[in-house]
Every structure is written in structure tokens, then in C-alpha cells.
């Protein structure tokens, strides 16, 4: 009943895994040239350096909070590359690589955590990239509704994968327990919505292990809702790409899917967390040996990519993180008009009155205040 192993194309040492079972997935991953794989590696490095630098900014008091994605870059880079340009992605709040891949500015992510904006960017600025969602699993329903709308528009299901739209929603093993996650599966199946739920099982929902969320594999649970489901090694970027590409292409023909990516949150839940209270150093070290970046780097070397090319990526990532840091330190504060200006689309007397009252109150202190 349960798959013994997740789908895997690279082992922990970056060696190709060649089996009869993974042949269809290998065929899809073969679409990725060496340059593509090198670029995927570059995005993972870029995200990791950004992530580490953002953590430093939080420790220095420049951010209220930071949410690291360390260890989950492999799952995310595969999904990011699998999504086609016309696809719409609904992240949770740890999908930094997905956001950066789609063109979100690092500073727009930082804006959320330095308390300058709730959303950071808008999907009108970054097409196909919805904003982060903090109430766990709520966006699973928004994504499903959006996919239902694609279906109603006739923008999926024509058989043309280069044009048919699909949606990917990202959440984790903790979110899978939320009612909204299950209702999303119900609606997706009921309306044949062009959507894939990409569930990063990173083993920890803050301090609670994934075994508390489900005694049964999450991908098996999804099958019970009537979705196609797959279990993939989330620290294998090539497998994540292949499975995501295939399931997205199935979804755009009206067959919704669910991917459980087996990965690990190598860092804390957030900078407010202390993982030493609930998990062992041994466990962390075991997963550190499965680091997706090291795995893809080893694979690239086996393809003949030289160390200079990898070192150049390291340098670029470090430079970009330093640039983000400089810009974050120079960034201006939010304006008080932001409190009022975007609550309603149409005029609202109470909000207008309160905005005017605040302005009058501030003005009452005179210009030197």
C-alpha cells in the first residue's frame, strides 16, 4: 500500500540512481541541460546566502523575525523549474526560493519581516507569484479557487501544455492537519481543478514531529481524496523537478495532484525557535549529510562542471546577499497612510474620518514634532 521509497534520481552522494521504476522520471529530468542544472544550483546557493544573511539581520535587530528555509531548497528549486511561465504559485511563508525564482526582489521578502508591509510584493508586479500566507493552509483554498477559475475560463484542458494554465500550492506537514488543507483537496477533486499541492514534509511543525500530524503517509491520504499523488525525495532537485513537471502537466489537463516532498527543515522554525529543545543533534547531522545543495554540486562535478564555475556561483550569491543587506539597512520606514489607504476599494467614511483625524492629531504637534 505504501511506497517503500520516495522517487529519487540522485542519491545522497549525488550519484545517479538508475532503476526501472524511475525511468519515466529520468526521462523528464533529461530535459534539463547541464547549464539548467548549474543554474538550479545557483538559485539554491543564492537562496541559502540570502537566508543566512536575513538571519543575521534579525539577530542584529533589523528584522522582527526571520523564517529560514535551509534544507528545503532542493524541493523548491525542482518545483520552481517545473512550473511553466503561465502557472500561478501560492506559497506558504517559507518558499523563498520560489519567490526569488519568480522575480521577487529579496528586499520585498525582507519588507515583510522588517514590518514594512504584510505582502511584500503583489502578483501584479510579479506575475504568477502570489504573496505569502501566514495562517496555516488557508491559501490551499485560495489556490484551489483560482484553479477552479482557470477551469471556468477554459484556460486549461486544451491539451497544450505550453499554454494551459495550472496552479501549485505550497504547504507543509503541519498544515496538512488543517481543515482548509483537506477542504482544498475535496474541492480540487470535485471540480477537476488544475492544481498540484506541493507538500514539503520537513518533519517538524515548529516543535511537533510529522508523526503527530499523520500516522499515515500524507501522499496516501491525498489518494483517499481522489487526487493523483506522488512521494518524492525533496532533497533531490532533479526528482522534485521531474515529479512536479509531470504532475503539473497532468493537472493542466484536469487531473489534480499532490506531491509529498521528503525533506528536512535544517534550521529553526523561525528565529524565535530553539530546536535543541525538541530534536537531537544526531538527527540534524544525519539530514545535513543529505543537504540538497551539496548533492546537486556533486552531481554537477560528475557532469564535468569545474570548481571555478561553482566558486563563481558562490561569489555571486555572497555579493547579492551583501547587496540585500546594504539595501535593507538603507530601507525607509512605512508611511502611516498605509494603515488606511488599502483597506477598501471604494470610499469608506469611517476609515477616511480616522485617517483625517490622525493627520490632524499629528499636525497639532507643529512642524518640529
Amino acid at each position: 500500500m505504501t511506497d517503500a521509497q520516495p522517487i529519487r534520481l540522485l542519491d545522497e552522494a549525488g550519484e545517479a540512481v538508475v532503476t526501472a521504476e524511475n525511468e519515466p522520471w529520468r526521462a523528464i529530468a533529461d530535459e534539463l541541460s547541464t547549464d539548467d542544472r548549474l543554474a538550479m544550483h545557483g538559485e539554491m546557493l543564492r537562496t541559502r546566502r540570502f537566508d543566512v544573511e536575513a538571519g543575521h539581520l534579525q539577530r542584529q535587530g533589523k528584522l522582527g523575525l526571520w523564517v529560514p528555509s535551509l534544507g528545503q531548497e532542493g524541493a523548491q528549486v525542482g518545483a520552481a523549474w517545473a512550473a511553466r511561465p503561465q502557472d500561478t504559485l501560492f506559497p506558504s511563508y517559507r518558499e523563498h526560493l520560489i519567490a526569488l525564482h519568480r522575480g521577487v526582489d529579496m528586499l520585498q521578502i525582507i519588507d515583510i519581516f522588517r514590518g514594512a508591509a504584510h505582502g511584500g510584493w503583489s502578483p501584479t508586479e510579479v506575475p504568477g507569484m502570489r504573496i505569502y500566507s501566514l495562517v496555516i493552509a488557508t491559501h490551499a483554498l485560495h489556490a484551489t479557487g483560482y484553479a477552479m477559475g482557470i477551469g471556468l475560463d477554459g484556460a486549461s484542458g486544451t491539451g497544450d501544455a505550453s499554454a494551459d494554465e495550472a496552479v501549485m500550492a505550497f504547504y507543509g506537514d503541519g498544515a496538512a492537519s488543517q481543515g482548509d488543507a483537506s477542504e482544498g483537496l475535496v474541492f480540487a477533486a470535485s471540480y477537476d481543478a488544475p492544481i498540484v499541492f506541493f507538500v514539503q514534509n520537513n518533519k517538524w511543525a515548529i516543535s511537533v514531529p510529522s508523526t503527530r500530524q499523520s500516522r499515515f503517509p500524507l501522499h496516501e491520504r491525498a489518494r483517499g481524496f481522489g487526487l493523483a499523488a506522488a512521494w518524492v525525495d525533496g532533497n533531490d532537485p532533479l526528482a522534485s523537478f521531474a515529479v512536479s513537471r509531470r504532475m503539473l502537466d497532468d493537472a493542466r489537463q484536469g487531473r489534480p495532484g499532490y506531491i509529498e516532498a521528503d525533506t528536512y527543515r535544517m534550521g529553526a522554525h523561525t528565529t524565535s525557535d530553539d530546536p535543541t529543545r525538541y530534536r537531537s543533534r544526531d538527527e540534524e547531522e544525519a539530514w545535513a549529510r543529505r543537504d540538497p545543495i551539496a548533492r546537486l554540486a556533486a552531481h554537477l562535478r560528475s557532469l564535468g562542471v569545474d570548481d571555478a564555475a561553482l566558486a563563481e556561483q558562490e561569489q555571486r550569491a555572497a555579493d547579492e546577499a551583501a547587496d540585500m543587506r546594504r539595501r535593507a539597512l538603507e530601507a525607509t520606514a512605512a508611511a502611516s497612510d498605509d494603515i488606511f489607504d488599502h483597506v477598501y476599494a471604494e470610499p469608506h467614511p469611517l476609515v477616511a474620518e480616522q485617517k483625517a483625524a490622525l493627520a490632524a492629531f499629528e499636525a497639532s504637534f507643529g512642524s518640529d514634532a
Binding site: 508591509a117 504584510h118 505582502g119 503583489s122 502578483p123 501584479t124 508586479e125 502570489r130 504573496i131 495562517v135 488557508t138 490551499a140 483554498l141 485560495h142 489556490a143 484551489t144 479557487g145 483560482y146 484553479a147 477552479m148 477559475g149 482557470i150 471556468l152 475560463d153 481543515g179 482548509d180 477542504e183 482544498g184 475535496v186 474541492f187 470535485s190 498605509d338 489607504d341 488599502h342 483597506v343 477598501y344 476599494a345 471604494e346 469608506h348 467614511p349 469611517l350 476609515v351
Partner: protein
């Protein structure tokens, strides 16, 4: 067209939905049993037959799912109109309303609008089992980002629903279900803006303020009071968020005495907000403290006790007497 016809509120709502769907193909309906059945109150009767499965979505039985997917459909450019089957069934969707739907535009700094209408049949006087007769309006009126309205007449039911569907903001549309079969004339154009309060009956001695089904109780009380020599003005609030203060304050200034009535429990309620604001803005005109008449601060009782729980004309008139005693 429906212009000039007398019809029950239920039909006025039905025709509003039909006309809105004919006018804009992005308008679609979502809810439980709203398809071939026409909804448990038959408000969507005939619409599935006219517009089909792709415009009238008989959804799975999951309120959070309905509202959450409606948000996604709105992101895609649709204008969903949701039917919640009964007032007490809206709470499974509460997070999707107050944390998601209401805040979505602000979270996007205005880049995304949420033209979603949530229709909720609400209130008592139908003798139903528990969770079927509640008045949840304060939860929504308290939530920034939502608009909350409640018609009391067939004309308002029709035109306020049309206006709500045309709004680019989310609207909680509270339908006084006990009055679904009360007839009234539906005019060929709206007579007031969506958020306007209107004077339903003119008077000079005491102002009675309410919304939804309570307006009918206030009109009855005013009629009885008139027989006893007291002239009551009745103001139909119509919009609970935002509230159109000018007509309420002006009436309070004219009469100097105000009674606010509602079916909902009184603690931290819309009626409390009205009483407080009138006290602030009409203080020097008032001859008496603003009197509140509400449902009790208890769960809605079993149906045999609903007439005790729900304010009737007698309880309103007792409040009128208290106001006049000053």
C-alpha cells in the same frame, strides 16, 4: 424586468441575482443546495436552469472551502456570490472571512480586490432548531475590510443586493429570513445608496433605530405608540458597516429621545455602537439616555422560547416609556 411589481423579499433577491448574472458573466453563485433545489429558502430558484453548472456551483458541504475558494475565484477575476445556508453555519468559514477575505486587499496594498458577496439568512421568528436563528452581524461589523448590510424591504433586498454585487469590496449581506415572504414593491431603480440609512416612518417624539426584521417590529411599535399619542420616527439603518451616521444623528437631534433595537445580543453589539455614537454626536440634543433593546446575552433559546428572547413591540414600547420618563 421587475419594475413596479409587488413581490416577496425572496423573489426580489432571486430577481436581483438573475439580473446581476445576466449583466456580468463574471458573477457566479456558490453554496450548498443552491442548484436544482434552488436553496433551502428557494432564493436561487430557476437560476441553475438558466445559467448552468458553471455559473451556479452546488458546492461540497464545507463553508470554509466555499469562502476560501471564492477568494481564489475573485483573485482570478470572478465575482462570487455565496449563500450560507443558515446564520449559525457561517462560523466554520469565519477565518476565511475575517482573516482572509477582509484583509486580502490591505495585505496586497490595494493590488487585489475582493468583490465577494456572502449572503446569510439570519435572525429568528421561524421556529427552527438551534444554530438556525442567530444574528451574527456584530462579528462582521467589527471586522475592518468588510461591508455589512441588511435590507428590510423587498425594494432594498433587490437593489441592495445588486449594489453589493457591483461593489469591489466584500459585502456580508444579511437577509432577514423571517421576512422572506413579506411582499413589497420593487422600483425600477434604487432609491438610496448601499450604505445609506433611511427614515422609514417620520415622527417627532422618539427615534426608533433598527435593521432587518427589527424594522418591522419598530414600525408596529410606532403604530401602537401613535394610538397612544406618541409620535415615533423609525430609522432603518440598512448598513451596519459603514453606518450612515448623519440621518441617525439628525433624527436624534430632532426628537431628543432614541431607542435602538436589535435581535442580536446587546453586549458589544452594533446597537451599542449606535448608542455610543449618538451619545457622542447628539449629546446636547438628548433628553434621555439612549435606550437599547436587544436579544439577551445568552445562546439563542429553543424555539418555544424565541418570542421571549426576541424583542417585540412591547419591549420596544417599554423602552420608549423609559425614554419619555426623563
Amino acid at each position: 424586468m421587475i419594475a413596479g411589481q409587488s413581490m416577496p423579499i425572496a423573489k426580489a433577491l432571486n430577481s436581483a441575482l438573475r439580473e446581476a448574472m445576466r449583466a456580468d458573466e463574471k458573477v457566479l453563485l456558490m453554496g450548498e443546495d443552491i442548484g436544482p433545489l434552488g436553496g433551502v429558502f428557494r432564493i436561487t430558484e430557476g437560476l441553475h436552469a438558466e445559467f448552468g453548472d458553471r455559473r451556479v456551483l452546488d458546492t461540497p458541504l464545507a463553508e470554509s472551502g466555499i469562502i476560501g475558494t471564492a477568494i481564489g475565484l475573485a483573485m482570478r477575476g470572478y465575482r462570487p456570490v455565496i449563500e450560507i445556508q443558515f446564520d449559525g453555519f457561517v462560523y466554520p468559514g469565519f477565518d476565511q472571512i475575517v482573516s482572509q477575505l477582509a484583509k486580502m486587499r490591505a495585505r496586497h496594498r490595494g493590488a487585489v480586490s475582493m468583490p465577494v458577496v456572502i449572503r446569510i439568512p439570519y435572525g429568528g421568528h421561524i421556529g427552527a432548531v438551534e444554530h438556525h436563528q442567530e444574528s451574527p452581524e456584530s462579528y462582521f461589523a467589527h471586522t475592518a475590510g468588510l461591508r455589512v448590510v441588511s435590507p428590510s424591504t423587498a425594494n432594498d433586498a433587490h437593489w441592495m443586493l445588486r449594489q453589493a454585487i457591483e461593489s469591489d469590496d466584500p459585502v456580508i449581506f444579511l437577509e432577514p429570513k423571517a421576512k422572506y415572504w413579506t411582499k413589497g414593491e420593487v422600483l425600477d431603480a434604487p432609491t438610496a445608496a448601499l450604505h445609506a440609512a433611511v427614515v422609514a416612518r417620520e415622527g417627532t417624539d422618539v427615534t426608533l433605530i433598527g435593521h432587518g426584521a427589527m424594522v418591522h417590529v419598530l414600525l408596529q411599535a410606532a403604530e401602537i405608540a401613535a394610538g397612544e399619542g406618541t409620535s415615533c420616527e423609525v430609522v432603518d439603518v440598512r448598513s451596519l458597516s459603514p453606518i450612515d451616521w448623519a440621518p441617525l444623528v439628525a433624527s436624534a437631534q430632532r426628537t431628543g429621545r432614541v431607542v435602538v433595537a436589535q435581535e442580536a445580543p446587546g453586549h458589544a453589539s452594533v446597537g451599542s455602537e449606535i448608542a455610543a455614537t449618538i451619545a457622542e454626536r447628539a449629546f446636547y440634543s438628548l433628553e434621555a439616555p439612549v435606550q437599547r433593546v436587544s436579544g439577551f446575552d445568552t445562546p439563542f433559546p429553543p424555539a418555544q422560547l424565541e418570542d421571549v428572547y426576541l424583542p417585540d413591540a412591547d419591549r420596544v414600547l417599554a423602552a420608549v416609556d423609559r425614554a419619555l420618563a426623563h
